[in-house]
């Protein structure tokens, strides 16, 4: 849908000139004399009197296609005589008989020609013709499909998306081999003209969500889109929230699963990360592996994940509240050993906790940005130097180090980075409240978070469904906290208002034959 980019500069459309020289020169100037612009002038056997030109940008086109399917046939073409008559017929006949490339296009304006060239097509001009022919020759070097880097699983497919959107869509096509898989590509970015593809399963996904997705995408007006994060911030329902209302993944199987559940996926050229919507809070606690491992294991792990999320959000605050406000809650022996540790620690509990948490966040960020070779060194410095010696020097208490470490580890349990990050940020706020009002502070902040969560929506779907509001029908409520066996997952998530909510006709498992 190139409309978006073209509507803005429709007034400045310049038609192609009849003169090849003029056109080539115009293109050359428009590209600012870029050195990777190749203008190859040649003549063909069939029409030796007419000069032809092949223009493309080196690097984004496939040299083999250019040589074998475009240049070679052009130079050695033999045209039936009746086709040589008019200028335009030459271009017509080139398209019909000569260029052996799947996708070709005829354009009459300079801007269109430039646009397609930037997309990886090569331009064929013929002297004396105001039309130009474009042939698809996209290619060039890109990363090949590789093992996923960030979202790893033990059991399940290992391949991840790459930066090229065509490859990515083809991977999905190879998973869902159905004509119902609809793909609509948009161009977003007045400079980058990035391809943004919307994928959904026709007949399953909620059409109103798909329409809403198109509407929101069409409204984006930005110069460039480098990553799906750009898109995410434009199309999410609520901007000022810590909680992600779109899910992202670099795993094709996750996207395929989301499509099968009736969600809509958005892919952006140039990034291996795809977006999925609508999404609910509870989806972020499901790892793709949950659905590959046995259901009992997955259910157990899923419960652990919720616990870990709560721990990573609340543990330091609870520690502060208990040790500085509600000491009576601790068993006596624990209280005495904590009190012994705190003897001589110069900071109040709240400051101590904030200090340690900040230190940890710094260490974590350092670990991420460091070149891989230095990574282990950072962890040694973090663990040994900061942790151990801080305790030995009596600057922080040992209990606090345990709390901070466990909080950090719990945070890594979350399968989705952006959901894990929310708990890290909220943690600081709750710590402050706990340091001022103890449990009451924690309680109030948690309720604020809860009210906020209940008010969120993702493409119209309440964020906390299927718990609040409860979804009709069975199965899904349970799927939020545990994973039920595959044969029992009859329905798709009910909160999505799908056109076809059934995955299976009924819950039945092939009975085992006993001999």
């Amino acid at each position: 849908m190139t409309k978006t980019s073209q509507t803005s500069n429709q007034s400045a459309l310049t038609p192609l000139s009849r003169s090849l020289q003029v056109n080539a020169h115009a293109i050359h100037t428009r590209f600012g004399g870029s050195s990777d612009l190749v203008i190859r002038l040649f003549r063909s056997d069939a029409a030796p009197e007419r000069q032809l030109a092949l223009i493309y940008i080196a690097g984004i086109v496939d040299a083999d296609v250019i040589n074998d399917s475009v240049l070679a046939p052009l130079m050695s073409m033999k045209l039936p005589s009746y086709m040589e008559e008019t200028e335009n017929l030459l271009i017509e006949s080139l398209r019909a008989c000569v260029v052996s490339v799947g996708s070709v296009k005829e354009v009459s304006t300079l801007e269109e020609a430039l646009q397609y060239m930037a997309d990886g097509m090569c331009l064929i001009l013929a002297d004396g013709s105001p039309l130009a022919l474009l042939a698809e020759a996209g290619g060039g070097k890109d990363r090949s499909v590789d093992v996923t880097q960030t979202q790893t699983v033990i059991r399940g497919p290992q391949r991840g998306f790459v930066e090229d959107i065509g490859t990515n869509i083809s991977i999905i096509r190879r998973i869902i081999r159905s004509p119902n898989l609809h793909v609509q590509t948009h161009k977003i970015g007045s400079q980058t003209h990035s391809n943004v593809a919307v994928l959904y399963l026709h007949g399953v996904a909620d059409e109103s969500v798909v329409k809403e997705m198109y509407r929101r995408l069409a409204a984006i007006d930005i110069d460039g889109v480098l990553e799906s994060g750009y898109i995410e911030e434009f199309i999410q329902d609520e901007s000022f929230t810590l909680f992600p209302t779109l899910m992202n993944t670099e795993r094709p199987d996750t996207v395929a699963a989301a499509l099968l559940e009736g969600r809509v996926a958005v892919m952006v050229d140039g990034t291996p990360i795809a977006l999925m919507a609508p999404i609910t809070f509870f989806s972020f606690f499901q790892s793709p592996e949950d659905f590959y491992q046995r259901f009992d294991i997955s259910s157990f792990v899923r419960v652990i994940r919720y616990a870990a999320y709560i721990v990573s959000m609340l543990l330091p605050s609870l520690y502060i509240a208990v040790t500085t406000f509600h000491q009576e809650m601790l068993p006596t022996t624990l209280l005495i050993s904590l009190a012994a540790q705190r003897e001589g620690v110069p900071f109040p509990g709240l400051v101590e906790a904030l200090l340690m948490e900040t230190t940890f966040e710094v260490l974590r960020e350092a670990g991420l940005r460091m070149p891989r070779a230095i990574g282990p060194a950072i962890s040694i410095v973090g663990a040994l130097v900061l942790g151990q010696s801080a305790v030995q020097a009596g600057i922080v208490s040992a209990g606090m180090v345990i709390i901070v470490s466990f909080t950090a580890i719990s945070n890594f349990v979350m399968p989705e980075f952006n959901m894990a990050a929310t708990s890290r940020i909220i943690r600081f706020g709750i710590m402050l409240m706990a340091g001022m009002l103890g449990f009451f502070g924690i309680f109030i902040s948690l309720l604020f978070v809860l009210v906020h969560l209940a008010s969120l929506r993702s493409f119209g779907v309440p964020y906390m469904s299927p718990i609040a509001p409860t979804a009709k029908g069975s199965g899904l409520w349970r799927d939020a906290f545990i994973r039920i066996p595959w044969w029992a997952i009859v329905m798709r998530p009910m909160d999505l208002k799908l056109r076809n909510p059934r995955r299976q006709r009924s819950a039945r498992k092939p009975p085992a034959q006993r001999h």
Binding site: F240, T323, T324, F325, Q327, E328, T332, L335, I336, S337, L338, A339, A340, Q341, R342, E343, G344, V345, P348, G349, L350, A398, L432, M433, G435, M436, L437, G438
Partner: protein, 401 residues
């Protein structure tokens, strides 16, 4: 966005005051409290835990884990508030394990103590209460072998006793509160004494020896009527009281080889399960209380001639145990009756069963209570006679013949 601004403002407001915040190294954790009455003033003693001396990491041997000091005043809370004059940290009562009431203080009345517990949130009703024959402070100064914090040790002592031989019952403040507020308005609290001839076990050095000169032990049951201590009953009588009021869980009873408790009690039985059912019956303005005891246990030691592998013999043994238990209970009842303190809860029982009659009786219950007759029936069931059948000596004799 407006909300964010509001929240920021709130944060600033909040940061200016941390009203209730108290760091762990600003509190003095109290493990035991003592109450004495001397020279017209309440004397409160506190056993403060010194965490540094207990912690395994920084533990310094040679220092006691607790420190005891006292303050005095005309009422409890004022006395407590005076502690700030001599202590660098705030007294912290929520982890207090026991309250020891000195004899004098108990005679004066424990009403103010109950009042403090009801009114304040930091004083917990699960705290164990004890009476003390001497002054409470003396007991709190004693170190106890095996344990680091004497206050906690004494609480464990009573819990162990309760499930071990049940001569005493673990009394928490709330138990005392409920009984004193109930129909009978009387309760019984176990007593503590410092036993032994020595000077006292007050320094860590004393614990270095294999035996300590003195030790804290449970002794005698104090009877409280209204809110005042009215008398003591002995350990044996206390067991009877416990049995009558159905507070025995497990116990050991020693019995004789002859009927009617004659001779030396040379054998013993471990009571594993027992229950007492009390049933009041009105009788011409007076009351008869029927006590039905059902007990079962195993034979632990048997130094009599009979062969416990024979059913008739077992029945005989059961009968002797029954008599023994009945005897213990009667002793207990007589002791309580003498002090006119209804610590057995007969009043409450009558109140529940005969509310109309109770309204008349309650007016002069103190007079009526000693006139009550108690009829005790005991049903003992020996569930096991142990791993051997005959007594060792009997077996020896048999081998000779």
């Amino acid at each position: 966005m407006k909300l964010v601004r509001w929240l920021l403002l709130l944060m600033i407001l909040l940061l200016t005051g941390c009203w209730n915040r108290v760091e762990l190294n600003d509190i003095a954790i109290i493990s035991a409290t003592g109450i004495d009455w001397k020279d017209g003033k309440w004397i409160l003693s506190y056993q403060v835990v010194i965490p540094r001396a207990i912690s395994s990491q920084t533990g310094e041997s040679g220092t006691a884990a607790v420190n005891v000091f006292s303050t005095s005043g005309d009422n409890f809370r004022f006395a407590i508030s005076k502690a700030s004059e001599e202590l660098s940290r705030r007294l912290y009562f929520s982890h207090n394990q026991i309250v020891i009431i000195g004899q004098e203080a108990a005679r004066r009345g424990i009403g103010p103590l109950m009042e403090v517990y009801l009114r304040n949130h930091d004083s917990r009703e699960t705290v164990s209460v004890f009476l003390s024959r001497s002054d409470a402070r003396g007991i709190m100064e004693q170190l106890i072998p095996l344990e680091q914090i004497p206050g906690a040790a004494i609480q464990r002592l009573i819990v162990n006793e309760e499930i071990g031989s049940s001569a005493f019952r673990h009394m928490a403040v709330h138990d005392a509160l409920m009984e004193l507020l109930g129909s009978s308005k009387a309760t019984a609290i176990p007593g503590l004494i410092i036993a032994g001839p020595g000077e006292g076990t007050e320094s860590v050095g004393d614990l270095g020896k294999t035996t300590t000169a003195t030790k804290v032990r449970l002794k005698d049951l104090g009877l409280i009527q209204g809110d005042k201590l009215v008398g003591w009953v002995s350990d044996e009588q206390s067991k009877g009281v416990m049995w009558l009021s159905d507070h025995v869980e497990r116990s050991t009873v020693s019995f004789t080889c002859a009927d009617n408790r004659k001779g030396k009690p040379t054998s013993s039985v471990r009571i594993l399960d027992t229950s007492t059912k009390l049933k009041p019956i009105p009788a011409n303005g007076k009351w008869i209380v029927k006590a039905d005891v059902e007990a079962s246990g195993v034979l632990m030691e048997y130094n009599c001639s009979g062969d416990p592998s024979k059913p008739q013999e077992v029945e005989k043994i059961e009968k002797r145990i029954e008599e023994e238990i009945k005897g213990i209970m009667t002793d207990g009842w007589e002791a309580v009756r003498k002090h006119k303190a209804d610590v057995l809860g007969f009043g409450a029982l009558i109140h529940k069963r005969y509310p109309k009659q109770w309204r008349e009786a309650s007016a002069n219950w103190e007079e009526l209570f000693p006139q009550t007759e108690v009829e005790i029936t005991v049903k003992m069931r020996l569930s096991s006679t142990g791993m051997s059948n005959q007594n060792f000596k009997e077996a020896q004799k048999k081998a000779e013949s």
